[in-house]
């Protein structure tokens, strides 16, 4: 028994000993780079000496994984860095890891995550916990491909992530819009709904033919947000939801979201499986793709500007799939980003990776391989590059890019997302009999603990 105690204490001593070490060279590098006193060749040199970069990203998309392995890895190897792609099932896993390592005292140069593909709540969490490397994005050589000028309204997506100021701590990597697809074999053109009322009318005639992904998955949260925008009692759509929870206040938030949540509760019996009492909400968009392909539902809503083209080429969508405008004026558009955590073990290599991802060639091949829209801004590119980027896009089925651009809505502020999500879970999933105001107040209190 004593022997065990001894072993445990040795392990504990080793662990704390490691935790108290610091990496002065890496700390110095971080300070120097963020102050702008290091030129890029010094970063490239350091990246070569570090030799690896650990990129953590959601590995649920095969085309993306293929692109990482066959395009990014060789390109990084040319820069003297081995790409170590860590494919995770949820971005939160990487965020948890960063926070746990920071909690145990591992600082820059000592953690295990160099870069994370994220946006929204996950970025907001890292920012709140002060776990980000710093304002690196505008300092990258290829930052010239991204609009940082605040006076241009188009820069909003680069400067704010779900309403949270990015502060240059993450670099835009990809853009997305929430687009719904319809199976044109099963729904005639005049029956395709373009508003939430139209959807309800359609479902009354064809019960069970629609479902959305279950919150707290972000694909589901986004659908709920669109419903909330469309049912905003003041008719101001997304505007009030750009404020943070502290600015808006729980009571006001409850007033604004109540009609949208009432609507979602009312259509529950008309959703897939709703006749049995509990709708069969899919857990993620892969599950929803399956329902759509099998004809169990006739619609598929998710983030996917080119989802139909990609789905058709991979055979994951029914052959008659088409995009359509839904809901009019409230199709949420946002970007997603690469962030570098405060305790990146290879900060130089992480910067080199972020810079490579912002190049025109990387963005073009990403679009070709995965159908993920560009994160860089085409109006800043040379005509030749902009044309190449446009040519790489898989294109649209059923509508034009202009139709999508005419119906853009901004994302909800990250501090509100959690509250709206918690309210959905409480009011709709758990059939709570409390008023929406009570639920929102409780959720806001819990999150502010």
């Amino acid at each position: 028994m004593r022997k065990i105690a001894l072993g445990v204490s040795i392990v504990a001593m080793l662990a704390t000993g490691v935790a108290q070490a610091q990496d002065p060279a890496a700390t110095e590098f971080r300070k120097g780079f963020l102050a702008g006193s290091l030129d890029w060749s010094a970063v490239a040199e350091r990246a070569k000496s570090e030799g690896t970069v650990n990129l953590y990203y959601w590995g649920g998309s095969d085309p993306l994984n293929v692109w990482m392995d066959s395009i990014v890895a060789p390109a990084m190897a040319e820069l003297g860095v081995t790409l170590n792609p860590v494919r995770i099932t949820g971005t939160k896993d990487a965020v948890d890891l960063v926070l746990a390592e920071l909690g145990s005292g591992k600082m820059v140069g000592e953690g295990s995550v160099d870069a994370i593909w994220l946006n929204g709540e996950n970025f907001s969490t890292l920012k709140k916990q002060d776990a980000l490397f710093g304002a690196f994005a505008p300092l990258l050589p290829n930052a010239k491909n991204i609009e940082w000028d605040e006076t241009d309204p188009r820069s909003l997506l680069n400067l704010r992530d779900f309403g949270v100021l990015t502060g240059g701590a993450e670099v835009p990597w990809s853009g997305e819009q929430y687009v719904c697809a319809v199976n044109a074999d099963r729904v005639s053109a005049e029956d395709v709904p373009h508003s939430f009322d139209g959807l309800q009318t359609y479902l009354e005639a064809n019960p069970g033919k629609f479902i959305y992904v279950k919150p707290p998955h972000y694909i589901g949260n986004t659908f709920v947000q669109e419903a909330v925008y469309a049912h905003n009692p003041d008719g101001t759509g997304a505007a009030p939801f750009q404020q943070s929870l502290d600015e808006l206040g729980a009571a006001e938030l409850a007033r604004l979201i109540a009609p949208g949540l009432e609507y979602l509760k009312n259509i529950e019996p008309l959703l897939l499986g709703g006749d049995s009492g509990t709708p069969r909400y899919p857990e993620d968009s892969n599950a929803l793709d399956g329902l759509f392909l099998n004809g169990e539902v006739n619609f598929n809503c998710k983030f996917g500007l080119y989802a139909v083209a990609t789905g058709l080429s991979q055979g994951t969508y029914p052959e008659a799939a088409q995009e359509f405008v839904f809901p009019e004026g409230n199709m949420i558009k946002n970007k997603n980003y690469l962030a570098i955590p405060a305790n990146a073990p290879n900060p130089g290599a992480a910067l080199v990776l972020a810079d490579y991802m912002s190049t025109v060639e990387a963005q073009i091949s990403k679009l070709e391989f995965t159908g993920m829209p560009a994160g860089i801004d085409p109006w800043l590119l040379s005509d030749e590059d902009a044309a190449a980027l446009a040519a790489a896009s898989p294109g649209h089925t059923g509508l034009q890019a202009a139709d999508l651009d005419a119906n853009i809505a901004p994302d909800t502020n990250a501090t509100l997302v959690d509250v709206i999500e918690a309210t959905w879970l409480e009011y709709i999933e758990r059939d709570s009999t409390d008023s929406i105001e009570t639920i929102v107040t409780r959720a806001a209190e819990n999150l502010n603990q």
């Binding site: 022997k3 065990i4 072993g7 445990v8 392990v11 949820g90 939160k92 926070l99 746990a100 909690g103 709540e121 996950n122 969490t125 069970g208 279950k214 707290p216 897939l272 499986g273 049995s276 509990t278 069969r280 909400y281 857990e283 399956g290 329902l291 392909l293 099998n294 004809g295 169990e296 539902v297 997302v417 959690d418 999500e421 918690a422 999933e429 758990r430 819990n446 999150l447 603990q449």
Partner: protein, 298 residues
């Protein structure tokens, strides 16, 4: 005398030395995780800025909600039903295997197949075969019994949990069979033959002779299966009916919530699972010990 004591001591030391690697791993990994889970569920998580240790607020919030008890009931229901069905099938299969019949050698290999296939593959098979977009429903639609696959009656993703139970049973029947079959081979058939000569009928032989003899195999295998079923996550997550979920899925949902303070509630859920499973398994073992003493085996 002294020498024999010394050698006994050395024997003991040697025994502990042999056990130490296993003990160390158990104490550090398993014991450490258990201790951490308990202290977190009591409100110790300074890394999220939460430290109200010791407070029972997380257990209070969890046990105070009606949905927790629904989840607990579902968890135990799936675990019990699938263990009982697998046991009944396992005993029948083991009884058949001790007899001789043509093709027995082949059969002895075939029944072990599910043992080698991971649960996840079993779950995928269930989805491919029994799902509303699965083989069976598509064939039914193809032959025109129904107009599209979604009209097929739902087997998966319901709270009746037939999909979950099917996967557990499919995977655990061979395991239980193997345990009981091994005991039967060890005991031999002489006692059964003796009973038959003394005029016992088939039912009497089964209930008075065979069943008491295979009891150790029954108890050990069902204990392992039940404990696994209570703590299993993938099958109820993928094949279950959504809210209310089984407890392991509830815990996972808490852990995955963007709200970090809910992780403590998740820990309280995990500790609750361990408590419930522990109490049930200890009771089960205690009853079994009493039974063993009653029939005079120790």
């Amino acid at each position: 005398m002294a020498r024999s004591q010394e050698s006994a001591l050395r024997e003991k030391l040697w025994l502990w030395l042999q056990l130490s690697p296993v003990l160390l791993i158990l104490a550090v990994l398993f014991g450490g995780a258990l201790v951490l889970a308990v202290v977190q569920s009591l409100g110790f998580a300074p890394w999220f800025g939460v430290n109200t240790f010791p407070s029972f607020q997380y257990f209070g919030a969890l046990w105070g909600s009606a949905s927790f008890w629904e989840s607990l009931w579902l968890t135990l229901y799936y675990a019990t039903v699938s263990t009982v069905i697998a046991l009944a099938m396992g005993i029948a299969l083991a009884l058949a295997l001790v007899r001789t019949f043509p093709g027995k050698q082949l059969y002895k290999y075939i029944y072990k197949l599910p043992l080698m296939i991971p649960y996840t593959v079993g779950i995928a098979l269930a989805v491919i075969m029994l799902g509303n977009g699965g083989m069976v429903s598509r064939l039914a639609a193809f032959f025109g019994f129904i107009s599209d696959p979604s009209q097929f009656p739902q087997i998966l993703k319901t709270h009746a949990g037939w999909g979950i139970i099917a996967v557990y049973v499919w995977k655990q029947v061979p395991f239980i069979t193997l345990a009981i079959y091994a005991v039967m081979l060890g005991v031999g058939r002489e006692t059964e033959e003796a009973a038959a000569i003394l005029g016992a009928n088939r039912w009497q032989i089964l209930s008075q002779v065979t069943l008491p003899q295979i009891m150790p195999g029954v108890v050990s295998s069902t204990l392992i299966c039940f404990a696994f079923n209570v703590g299993a996550f993938e099958a109820p997550f993928i094949l279950g009916g959504g809210f209310p979920d089984t407890l392991p899925v509830v815990a996972w949902r808490y852990f995955n919530d963007a709200d970090y303070t809910l992780q403590l509630q998740g820990m309280a859920t995990v500790v609750s699972i361990a408590l419930v499973a522990g109490i049930i398994l200890f009771t089960y073992l205690a009853i079994y010990r009493r039974f063993e003493r009653k029939i005079g085996r120790n």
